[in-house]
Symmetry: C2
Subunit: 244 residues, 2 copies
Amino acid sequence: MTAPGSAPLPRDAFVDWLKREGASRYHDHHRYHVLMHEGKLTKLQLQQWVLNRYYYQTRIPIKDAIILSKSDDPAFRRMWIHRILDHDGEKEGEGGLALWLRLAEGVGLDVEEVASCRSVLPGVRFACDNYVQFVQERSLLEAVASSLTEAFAPDIMSKRILAWEKHYPWVSPEMLGYFRARVTRARADSEEAIEWIAARATTYERQEACVAALIRKTEILWHLLDCVYTAYVEPGWGPGGGRA
Amino acid sequence: MTAPGSAPLPRDAFVDWLKREGASRYHDHHRYHVLMHEGKLTKLQLQQWVLNRYYYQTRIPIKDAIILSKSDDPAFRRMWIHRILDHDGEKEGEGGLALWLRLAEGVGLDVEEVASCRSVLPGVRFACDNYVQFVQERSLLEAVASSLTEAFAPDIMSKRILAWEKHYPWVSPEMLGYFRARVTRARADSEEAIEWIAARATTYERQEACVAALIRKTEILWHLLDCVYTAYVEPGWGPGGGRA
């Protein structure tokens, strides 16, 4: 794009830039997702995706609490806090984390093992922890920009529900509640975040930092799938790369 | 007390230790509070307490969001998140921060100036920022323990309402909503936190760290009043110590 020191892009051009970079790098293009949506994952491969992705899910309310803590503005915090409530729920057994554990149960995993995160692949842990650290270290603007992968989630969720119902009929449709809940929430959340960012990325350098933050986030999600692919598809040596 | 390496104190002895250290060091003993409750503060002195203390108030949801971000446990986060909502409110104009700004209006301050925090004394800022940094750097247990000054808040709030109604009748009683709201909330919050801490401070070293965290917090609150006292009571040179 333009060199640093340039004038900021107009709002729509900036949002297009974000969406173009995000859409082209989003993990729906990853071969693990392609296999999943074509119904070509084995039960073990589907399970291991659910198990490993749960660690990512557990990091979401943590990074959202860090984002809250970076803001001085009660209005921003009021806008953002529901993300934590969405994942944690109002009481035991509610919220996105509990829905993900129901999904784990639905694919035949030991829920306690999933909840403990003890079988998560090391590389998945590194990538997810890097996300939390990124949000901790960077500006509020960059931290919020890194959340924008959500803008691409509704489509993948809708496709996923259809694909799972068709290809993995042994998973009870009622276990797919997490995906259904995210379709509308991810759309609303990302639109809110895009407006907030567009109003604050008032220099070219800030716009560039937002795009870089979103790219970093797509790398994190992508790496998660790389790790699961390497362990369970090709070469498929499992955790520890055959050492285990 | 006992030397490090000792066995942990029984639950009640540990809670007594916390309460003893907290009660003896709590800022209700500070001469600024004594003057306030005896009706001996001038309008300017009362105003400056409200203005400077507002900076402390603005740090509360930030440190509570940091505390949230330090926990892996959705049940803990569900317990803690309402503290942020209590200060920020569900919508504009609600919550503890908005109530404090009403108080500022009630004592005749320019609300916009108070909300900007631009006239806060440097030492007050240092102390409050130190609190946020402490919570950021220390363990979750210590961060929660530092919140226990709330256990002593209900009494001081009740006394404060009576004292203000008696001595500062020019402040409309309806502006004292913050103090009234805190009487019951601070009691419930601190009891919840004490139980959580008592169940987790399972070694003598951890109990000692909790007591140290609470002491640090009392020092922060105390220093805030020291700064306001020095600037506005004795020597009373105002912000900048006469340089301004």
